[in-house]
């Protein structure tokens, strides 16, 4: 059995929930730093560090900056009455590390799933039949939706209805784009849903899922390891949480 093989969906889902719980219980800087380091190592093995870096730059950086400025330099205290800028900065850093860990755990446990494994994960947690088809469809329709939005903007350009690219002009396009999008999308979606019914595609999706679950048994060791790490993390943080209380 390969330790670095992709863990099964059920173990990933459970590890995600337990890991998130542990993160909310973590209230010490060394714990959060240690946890983040372990998750980053796993991310490195999965080859997902670049995605995490993008999340860090687009979401974490400006939240972290705002938190440090407000708590460390404006309030110069923590929220619970601690009266020093260092406490304010510490509070800000703890919050941002917690956010970083939440994102990292999601990425490592769920976002690294291939789409057929994702459907198996949802199926394992009781999302089946047409609901499963709806979620899968949403995930796959992103590229179509993005293309439709671009096509609508392109069509407005082609009719000289968007004469320049200023912010105000682009904003003015939004209601027309939304309406055309929301008229065409349900019409197409109704035909698609009817195809699922008439073609028996939902049953086929379930059959595909059964095949996926049959191939997952050989990866249990990596799944057990992931679950063990998450459980260990949750226990450690919970113990320290109650110790500090």
């Amino acid at each position: 059995m390969n330790l670095f093989a992709s863990p099964p969906s059920l173990y990933r889902g459970l590890a995600c929930f337990i890991g998130l719980f542990g993160t909310f219980m973590a209230n010490r800087l060394p714990l959060l730093l240690g946890g983040l380091l372990i998750v980053l190592v796993i991310m490195g093995i999965q080859g997902k560090l670049r995605e995490f870096a993008r999340f860090g730059l687009t979401v974490l950086l400006h939240i972290g900056g705002a938190l440090i400025v407000i708590w460390g330099f404006v309030r110069k205290s923590g929220p619970n009455g601690e009266h020093s800028p260092e406490d304010g900065v510490l509070f800000a850093v703890l919050t941002i590390l917690r956010l970083a860990l939440l994102g990292a755990i999601f990425l490592v446990t769920v976002l690294t799933l291939s789409p057929d494994r994702l459907s198996h994960l949802l199926h394992t947690f009781g999302i089946r039949g047409w609901a499963l088809a709806g979620v899968i469809s949403y995930l796959n329709l992103w590229s179509d939706f993005r293309r439709n939005i671009k096509q609508i903007y392109a069509s407005r350009c082609a009719r000289r209805l968007m004469p320049d690219r200023s912010f105000a002009t682009r904003l003015r396009q939004m209601p027309y784009t939304l309406r055309t999008l929301f008229i065409s999308s349900p019409m197409y979606s109704l035909d698609r849903a009817q195809t699922w019914e008439s073609g028996g595609l939902i049953h086929r999706l379930e059959r595909l899922d059964k095949r996926t679950s049959a191939t997952e048994d050989s990866f249990q060791l990596s799944g057990i390891l992931l679950l063990a790490l998450a459980t260990g993390w949750a226990i450690t943080t919970t113990v320290y949480f109650f110790k500090s209380e």
Binding site: S137, C157, A158, T180
Partner: protein, 403 residues
């Protein structure tokens, strides 16, 4: 006569339903599919915009085909056909990023994989180039994949573009009678007001790719004269619509230059200033909740002419999306033709249109060119291009060659 009788007498053979626009073909096909489904058969209807029939349940072209072919008797043959259609190079891509023609091929293969009793292709083949059309028809006629399926097809446009390999043809009048007067598309009332500025449109060294490292256009260069009609031709997915959108300013130009009358342009910053375009899918080019409001963007005297040209004078209070596909296409064609711009691009304007409408479109485009407009047409209809007497430009391997 009942269409079921015809299907029974020609099992497993494709049947063409002939008729003009508004003769009732679409109604007949939809009713046939609905009736057969109610009887417990598997019947599938495909219209001209095929991406609405892609399942969206699978992330890649390969998986889309796979989920449809699951358990099918001819699973291996299906994938062999996919290879012959050139779909294997797109196997890892999302079905929604394929070109129109590629989506048609994928959808037809996928639906055939379900082994339906009846498959209705209502103008579905219009977006295919000649080579792929012939391949599909041969597959429908002779392949074991389609032996269980009765296929009903509709064709539009000129007789010269029609498939010779489809010998079983029936008129829709045998099955339905319709007394309604179809809306006319008539060029005689068309009043074209030319732009004050006319001039040459020139492109030099255009390179473009949607993804890094994958170029669709490589060193595209041309110089087009006003008052002439040009055609961009080439197989499915070569980049004709992409080039057109760059000229309009709907896609950014990363490398190369576009000039009008010797002056370098930046179409991306001012889209539609020099070149306007009639898009292939009219649904994305309609933005109002009535035909009247849709035409109100045009100058007053043009909106009446546009309504008359499209044949929608009696439908001004209708929602554009309540019009049939054919009328929506005519409406957007008419709106674009009435814009006062130097250059016009029409992307597959004849899709879904009957012979009379195609002829009228030829007359409209000729009138525009005579009045100094520059016209570029993208079309798979060889007869339409022949009648327009276009100067032909062939797009292949990312660059343009004059034919």
């Amino acid at each position: 006569m009942n269409i079921d009788a015809v299907l029974t007498s020609h099992p497993g053979n494709p049947i063409v339903l002939e008729g003009d626009n508004f003769s009732g073909r679409t109604d007949l096909l939809r009713r046939c599919v609905a009736d057969r489904s109610q009887q417990g058969d598997q019947a599938i209807y495909l219209g001209s915009c095929v991406h609405r029939y892609l399942s969206s349940l699978m992330p890649s072209v390969h998986d889309e085909l796979y989920i449809h072919a699951l358990g099918a008797r001819h699973e291996k043959s299906l994938f062999r056909f996919a290879e012959s259609f050139g779909l294997t190079r797109c196997f890892s891509q999302s079905p929604f990023v394929l070109s129109g023609g590629e989506q048609v091929l994928l959808t037809i293969l996928a639906k055939l994989a379900l082994e339906p009793d009846v498959l209705a292709l209502d103008g579905t083949l219009a977006e295919l180039d000649q080579v792929n059309k012939i391949r599909i028809v041969q597959m429908l006629r002779a392949s074991p994949i389609a032996e269980k399926t009765s296929t009903l097809l509709t064709e539009n446009g000129y007789a010269a573009d029609r498939m010779e390999d489809l010998p079983i043809r029936r008129s829709v009048g045998e099955f339905v009678t319709t007394s309604r007067t179809p809306p006319r598309f008539c060029a005689s009332d068309f009043c074209f007001i030319p732009s004050i500025n006319t001039g040459c449109l020139e492109a030099k060294g255009i390179y473009f790719g949607y993804r890094a490292g994958s170029l669709i256009l490589r060193d595209v260069c041309f110089r087009l004269q006003p008052g002439c009609i040009y055609s961009f031709e080439g197989g499915n997915g070569v980049g004709k619509s992409t080039l057109a959108q760059i000229l309009v300013g709907a896609l950014p130009l990363h490398r190369g230059s576009i000039s009008f009358n010797g002056r370098v342009l930046n179409p991306w910053k001012n889209p539609g200033q020099t070149v306007v375009m009639h898009m292939q899918n009219p649904d994305f080019q309609l933005f109002s909740d009535s035909v009247y409001k849709e035409l109100s963007d045009l100058p007053d005297f043009s909106s009446g002419s546009a309504a008359r040209l499209a044949g929608v004078e009696d439908l001004m209070t209708e929602h554009p999306f309540d019009l049939p596909f054919v009328l929506r296409k005519r409406l957007t064609f008419s709106i674009i033709a009435h814009l006062k711009r130097p250059w016009f691009i029409f992307d597959e304007p004849t899709v879904g249109q009957d012979i009379q409408t195609c002829d009228q479109m030829v007359a409209v485009l000729r009138k525009m060119a005579r009045n100094g407009a520059g016209i570029i047409v993208i079309s798979h209809s060889q007869e339409f291009i022949r009648r327009l007497e276009t100067k032909r430009l062939w797009l292949e391997d990312g660059s343009i060659k004059e034919l």
